[in-house]
């Protein structure tokens, strides 16, 4: 591996924020730098210009020798290792020192997209491309039917991570574009893998049982379904598909986000009223609609004509009934409904959140909500569509499970969708609130710095940043860079940090940029398609306080697969309490006088021991409950009160700083 660090030419990191933070002073800026420093950055694979705001590039490590020029893909995290997928296999980086990742192993085993996940000593790698081989060589597979081909999931034992053992394959009919590791809280002997395969169905001569026909002509169709693999932990080599849930069955066109529940209810009321007055109503695209006379009159005439009535005669009650009985069928035929099976026949990615028993499926033209309490048999309980979305790519829940964010990879990721004329609602995120399984559209979020036509850019992979009391996410936008944004208020998401490089090539389109950017144990790791592994640190500002960052860093995970969302919890600690106090200052939920007093009390309690501390904190909790009664930010005060109470009750010495 070359150790030469790419010399980076920092063109425009200057911002009010950066100036204010020099000299040890606090950076309290809440204003993004203007003009946007991401515009006009110098191009270059290794020496591109950079722009950053509230985000510091700690280190860039170029790919190792056999992976140069091959696409870096998704990331997974295991202990102090980052596992980076690549179309040539995967690389394992030791990040015990995040400022200096070292290569533990580069495992050469070509296949696209090499989506990676871990569970204990097992590593799962997706293979979808038709050139992936069981023997991991780069020879490719040139026959349309071949027993050398791997399309599905490769399983490695990484007990000795420097020497991964390739222990099993699970072949699937459509390969594995992505996959999701799912833990069944009620089953400690197995782990499950949901496979999203979007490639064409294989020949049954290559993999018996694969069926290319649609379910209408063959009920065993490999289309319109996902695969669930069960992996017995005691014998992972016996992993096999246990079910192929048809989560798309009878998927009626979902209401568009513009059609709120109130609209649907109003349409139903209007239709009922029309029926009561002799009108004709049908259901189309999830809404009841009344046939206008210009449509119903000629139909009635033709019904009358069919029974032999002379032209111009008045339709009878029987004619009306005939139309009433047939109107739905006529409309369905007109719009091809029930004749051609529309809608998605696969998912791009599924994010599970076992703690709340739900999964978000980003599936073709739909965002699906799945009940996964029976892990091997996920069941669709909701669906949304969106008139501005083309290709639903990923899903992210907020930690409370009250919101769901879907992203749209418009153009497939290889195209420039962030030019100044590309609309902010195209190739963006769509944020929904989630209430009893009901998804309600709130807003779009898009990284808004205009990029050049040579930079592929669209919404891509991201994860939550565990700041207690807020929904903050870091997200990749390919060559649009990394954007950190707050979506606590789902109707008004707001960017709070970013990093961007200039184009890989300033003269023609060339693939590059960040595929995934995920927070893991205090740092943000980004898989740069062409430039390797980037490590970032979030910087305090007026938008994220030092306490909030310290609280985020208290969350420690032993491993992390972004599509298997863990419930984030924070230990009772003074820094978490202070993070909430900072948020109350920002929201105006507590007066300046009370803020000062609460901070003083927290400071005092922290220095105290045993009973004195308990007394101070108990009194503070009582005072906070009183504050909550009149505060505009009652929920936050209650959270703060709960932490203070936990601290009061914590055994001495256990309260984290």
């Amino acid at each position: 591996m070359k150790s030469i660090q790419a010399l980076v030419h920092v063109v425009a990191v200057v911002s009010i924020a950066a100036c204010a933070s020099s000299g040890g002073g606090a950076n309290n800026s809440t204003v993004a730098p203007t003009p946007d420093p991401r515009v006009g950055l110098k191009a270059g694979l290794k020496d591109a210009g950079q722009a950053a705001w509230n985000l510091r590039l700690v280190h860039n490590t170029p790919p190792s020798e056999k992976f140069v020029g091959s696409t870096n893909s998704d990331l997974s995290f295991y202990q102090h290792y980052v596992i980076q997928g690549n179309y040539n296999g995967y690389e394992v980086w030791d990040v015990s020192t995040p400022a200096n990742p070292t290569l533990k192993v580069a495992y050469f085993c070509p296949a696209s997209q090499s989506d990676v996940s871990v569970f204990r000593n097992l590593l799962f790698v997706s293979g979808e491309g038709t050139g992936g081989r069981l023997d991991c060589t780069a020879a490719g597979v040139h026959d349309s039917v071949s027993h050398d081909r791997l399309r599905g999931i490769r399983i490695f034992d990484i007990s000795d991570i420097a020497n991964p053992k390739y222990i099993a394959n699970v072949q699937t009919c459509r390969g594995s574009h992505t996959h999701t590791v799912v833990i069944d809280p009620n089953d400690s002997t197995n782990v499950y893998v949901y496979v999203s395969g979007s490639a064409p169905v294989r020949s049954p001569s290559e993999l018996p049982g694969c069926v290319r026909q649609s379910p209408d002509s063959n009920p065993n169709s490999s289309l319109f379904r996902i695969e669930v693999i069960k992996v017995p932990l005691a014998a992972p080599q016996t992993a096999a598909i246990v079910s192929s849930p048809r989560i798309f069955d009878s998927l009626a066109p979902a209401p568009q986000h513009g059609e709120m529940q109130q609209d649907i209810a109003e349409a139903t009321r209007v239709a009922d009223s029309a029926r009561a007055h002799g009108g004709y109503a049908v259901t189309l695209f999830g809404m009841q609609r009344v046939l206008p006379p210009r449509f119903s009159t000629p139909l009635l005439d033709s019904i009358a004509k069919t029974r032999g009535a002379p032209a111009g005669s008045t339709p009878t009650a029987a004619d009306s009934q005939t139309l009433r009985d047939n109107a739905q069928g006529i409309i369905d035929r007109m719009f091809n409904i029930n004749r051609v099976r529309t809608g998605p026949n696969q998912c791009h990615d599924i994010t599970v959140y076992p703690a709340i028993g739900l999964a978000g499926g980003a599936c073709g033209g739909y965002g699906l909500l799945l009940d996964i309490r029976d892990v091997a048999h996920p069941r669709r309980i909701g669906a949304v569509a969106d008139s501005n979305f083309s290709y639903w790519h990923s899903a992210t829940f907020n930690n409370d499970g009250t919101k769901l964010l879907f992203s749209d990879e418009w153009g497939g990721g290889g195209q420039p969708k962030c030019r100044d004329f590309d609309k902010p609602q195209w190739g963006a995120d769509a944020i929904f609130t989630l209430d009893n399984g009901q998804m309600t559209f709130q807003s779009y979020y898009k990284m808004l710095a205009p990029q050049t036509a040579n930079e592929n850019c669209v919404a891509h992979n991201g994860s939550l940043i565990p700041i207690p009391g807020r929904d903050v996410m870091v997200q990749s936008w390919y060559q649009g860079g990394i954007s950190v944004f707050d979506w606590t208020d789902p109707a008004h998401p707001k960017e709070i940090a970013f990093f961007d490089r200039g184009p890989v090539d300033g003269t023609k389109p060339a693939d590059g940029g960040t595929w995934s950017a995920y927070w893991y144990n205090g740092y943000i790791y980004s898989s740069e398609i062409a430039r390797g592994l980037d490590v970032f640190e979030l910087q305090p500002s007026g938008l994220i306080s030092r306490n909030e960052l310290a609280a985020a860093k208290l969350v420690h995970l032993d491993y992390f697969n972004t599509q298997d969302q863990p419930k984030l919890t924070w230990p009772a600690s003074f820094v978490v309490a202070r993070a909430y106090v900072d948020q109350l200052e920002r929201s105006g939920g507590l007066s300046a006088e009370r803020l000062k007093a609460v901070r003083q009390e927290l400071g005092r309690a922290e220095k105290e021991r045993s009973d004195a501390r308990r007394t101070t904190l108990t009194q503070l909790a009582v005072a906070l409950a009183q504050d909550a009664a009149t505060s505009s930010d009652r929920a936050k005060l209650q959270k703060l009160g709960a932490v203070v109470t936990d601290l009061a009750n914590a055994p001495q010495g256990n309260a984290a700083q």
């Binding site: 719009f335 529309t342 809608g343 073709g364 033209g365 153009g411 497939g412 195209q415």
Partner: protein, 203 residues
């Protein structure tokens, strides 16, 4: 590499797929280079297909289209122009002929049908749409563009049915066309439905 002259950019010939020059004929056949002639036909055929969509979507502003149809058209132009660029790059880097469709030529009755891909509008349909204005343009545009998009899906299905579309960029392009156009068909059906069930107001 020097023998592969970028000849594709040198000719100004409009609709014709340029003949292979002697230098390029020295290349091994596509099958030995990871893709197939079906892939080439799909990628170049899609350029003709997309060019017509861009042509007619570009009429929205001058044909009194409604704001929702204009937004749809903006999106079609943006999506499909980007895809034409990508398709052309794919062909050019493999030294395959890059078609340069002449949209005006498509309007001519009796035009060469070699480049008529599934779903493409006939010269008669093009002329009819060209004459339409306002709400008539909207309704006709939606119906014809649904037909056009369904043709693209047919092309994707044919590609995969032929056992082609296995090279990564071809596969990605075909999947993207499939996803984008399926979604847009449903969107256009909704727009037609909204038009159909609109309160009877003078058009």
């Amino acid at each position: 590499m020097a023998r592969f002259i970028p000849w594709i950019l040198t000719a100004g010939l409009a609709t014709a797929i340029l003949p292979l020059p002697a230098a390029a004929q020295a290349l091994p056949p596509p099958e030995r280079r990871g893709y197939t002639t079906d892939d080439v036909d799909f990628m170049s055929g899609m350029i003709y297909h997309h060019a017509q969509a861009v042509l007619i979507a570009g009429w929205a502003p001058t044909h009194g289209a409604s704001s929702s149809v204009r937004t749809l058209c903006d999106r079609i132009v943006a999506s499909q122009n980007d895809e034409i660029a990508l398709l052309s790059r794919w062909l050019a880097t493999r030294h395959e002929a890059v078609p340069h469709p002449d949209p005006d030529h498509m309007m001519m009755p009796g035009m060469d049908s070699t480049h008529m891909m599934p779903g493409m509008l006939s010269p008669e349909q093009l002329a009819q749409l060209e004459r339409a204005h306002g709400p008539d343009f909207d309704a006709l545009f939606l119906r014809l563009m649904i037909q056009h998009h369904q043709g693209a899906i047919t092309m994707v299905n044919h590609l995969f049915a032929a056992g082609a579309g296995e090279e990564e960029p071809v596969y990605k392009m075909a999947s993207s066309v499939f996803a984008d156009q399926t979604t847009e068909i449903e969107r256009m059906q909704r727009m037609l439905a909204a038009d159909l069930f609109a309160p009877t107001t003078p058009k």
